[in-house]
Symmetry: C2
Subunit: 430 residues, 2 copies
Amino acid sequence: MTLGSSNGAVADAAPLSAQESDPRVMGWMEGFPPPKDKIITQPDSVYFSFPKLRWSVCHLREFLPTEEISRGLGAPVPLAYPPPYEFGDLRDAIDALTFTPLGAHAPMSWEQSLYANYTDGVLILHKGRVIYERYFGCLQPDGKHAAMSMTKSLTGLLAEILVVEGKLDDAAPVSAIVPEVRDSAFGSATVRQVMDMTTGLRYSEDYADPNADIWTYSAAASPLPKPAGYAGPDGYWEYLQQVKPEGRHGDAFHYRTVNSDMLGWIISRVSGKSVTALASERLWRPMGAEQDAYMTVDGKGTPYAGGGLSAGLRDLGRLGLLMLNEGVIDGKRLFPAEVVKKIRAGGDPAKFGESYPALVGGRYSSMWWLYPGDEGVIAARGVHGQTIYVDPSAEMVLVRFASFPKAQNPLIDPTSLPAFRAVSQYLKSR
Amino acid sequence: MTLGSSNGAVADAAPLSAQESDPRVMGWMEGFPPPKDKIITQPDSVYFSFPKLRWSVCHLREFLPTEEISRGLGAPVPLAYPPPYEFGDLRDAIDALTFTPLGAHAPMSWEQSLYANYTDGVLILHKGRVIYERYFGCLQPDGKHAAMSMTKSLTGLLAEILVVEGKLDDAAPVSAIVPEVRDSAFGSATVRQVMDMTTGLRYSEDYADPNADIWTYSAAASPLPKPAGYAGPDGYWEYLQQVKPEGRHGDAFHYRTVNSDMLGWIISRVSGKSVTALASERLWRPMGAEQDAYMTVDGKGTPYAGGGLSAGLRDLGRLGLLMLNEGVIDGKRLFPAEVVKKIRAGGDPAKFGESYPALVGGRYSSMWWLYPGDEGVIAARGVHGQTIYVDPSAEMVLVRFASFPKAQNPLIDPTSLPAFRAVSQYLKSR
């Protein structure tokens, strides 16, 4: 493989394996200075194309302005672990688990799946204890990783907390809360339709299509100075004001990032706080986080509520525990149980559609994914393989950071979802 | 005062007082979104001009790419405090101290000086305990503030640690360590001349002169994409390779930021670590820091060793304690006492010159300021009023963050240095 072939434009041809594309193997950004062909720089079409993205997912703040989600100044509350000998046995047992990837015939081991999925970090909590934890590629226990669209679930959780506390009326039209979007497609949607992404918007989010609206949106959102002659919207919130309608609100689930940014605006407007400040106050500080997290911001300092979060693996484990235990962590209640119960009860499988082959029959509720099946799995998902996977049937929380070469999660679901179920089965059988 | 008069270009006319220019009074960045005339954005000529800079000094990461200086994942080691009633009495006593500003006749109280100096945060440690701590403007205990050129002292301390440990030969020519600068003015300088800023370089750092080299340097250093047709050096280290000589190395102290970036390159080259990684490993992690710090980076990810640090007030107090106690904090030795002894013994008052009226007879050594006088004060200084002031004669460490309207510290020294001495005298008299 030559370096030329690592260019995003030709990445299709022969993607490097997880081991080959390990940032330490590639030598990205090593040396003072690194060799010219090992330096990763702007623009995002460079730094966020495979295999460079395998380094960049741990280093977004080095490319972009960001806002902190503070953990505060106190001591973190360490996660619980089994004794080391037991931890080692559990790791061996889980690594050896096998499953059949969706649409495949040959079995795959859990450990093989970690490489198939370009895993950067994986953490499994069972009955409140960390029973499995491994790091790969650019990630370390004290590092942060891009959460991508898992950010949406953070935004959705904060919104649902405000709903349950009576501070946000989810039946209200968005225009009653944010009059600035009165003339956009959002104006006539309800807050709940935004939370569940059943708005009728003209918005294409096909990451593989270079003309998709998502890229226009990115131009509005870029914190870099706008190019000369740029006449488009400046910042996330100006973009939202000119989104056009398409279809009817409430008819169907359409996965569109702009809903999350609309929700970010809504919760900031009703709480008087930025999404970062809310996340710090309601979650990062009280949950005993061991690292600050951060969110990228647009040129006006607005955090990217649809995808800007970077955080530590264990801290997203804490977030998963809060979902599993309905607001309680370390014996402390952070928000009413009703918040998670409402999220679980929401969404509509009839509206969910078939865009996600592995999830047909599931639901999308308050920006969380409710998986089909009896286990009652609730998940956060982000492109390139990010997930928080909460399986109450096994009292399990699984967090995975990854840098899968392609963005689309349906490509990584086949080697992921059955692997997660294999772990869940194993834990239930112990 | 109209908002128009707060523009940097006319700030001379009638600078707002500390109270008037308090970011909360100005309403910068308040609201979702803030009103148009309250939004602070790029470029730095906007966000870093008074009075906007009073907000921006606490929010640099929201404008610029940054690299973390990690505190690690453990519990911070809290600073020691006297009992609250004693703390309150101490605060009253210190607030009431009076002194005569340099060149003035009328006395000023310590508390008045806080406003005269546009103080954002001030921390005083005496015999290892925090006896005074106040926050103003944009700063909070859990916030971070731009350290500006105090960054240089961090870089110098790390370099001196490597010298004492035998990993860096301070007598070696720079070209022996970083051959890339062989043809620049740095090539023929010794490491020690760089550390003490006695290099002979053509470099103007007059912040008031729009044609000064510092601004060209800023263009090289900017992480934003270069303007079309830009043909200058890209990044800190490319800039260093084309610095021209002027005068003779070793003859005189000339305060030039590029020396610090050269030193950053040197210590990265010999240690194999970025300045941020070194600062984390040698200082932030072992000193029990309560916050991560960060440094801004250029377009190639090189931390700005000459001015890029932002940190918490108390964490710079910890750094001051390490200087006071020659490498020991909380009973733990982080580096040999020889490091501070060497810094204290270095520099040459004959070379120091008279550019700093309040400091004539002082020295500059390993990027620390050694003040004239019997107290043996050693200090870090940064534009707009940043200082770590270590007075061993009073077992005192004082850290001040500020956002004085003008950059130049000689303008703020008259209401600062005699104020610091008044506190020192008071503490010695107790």
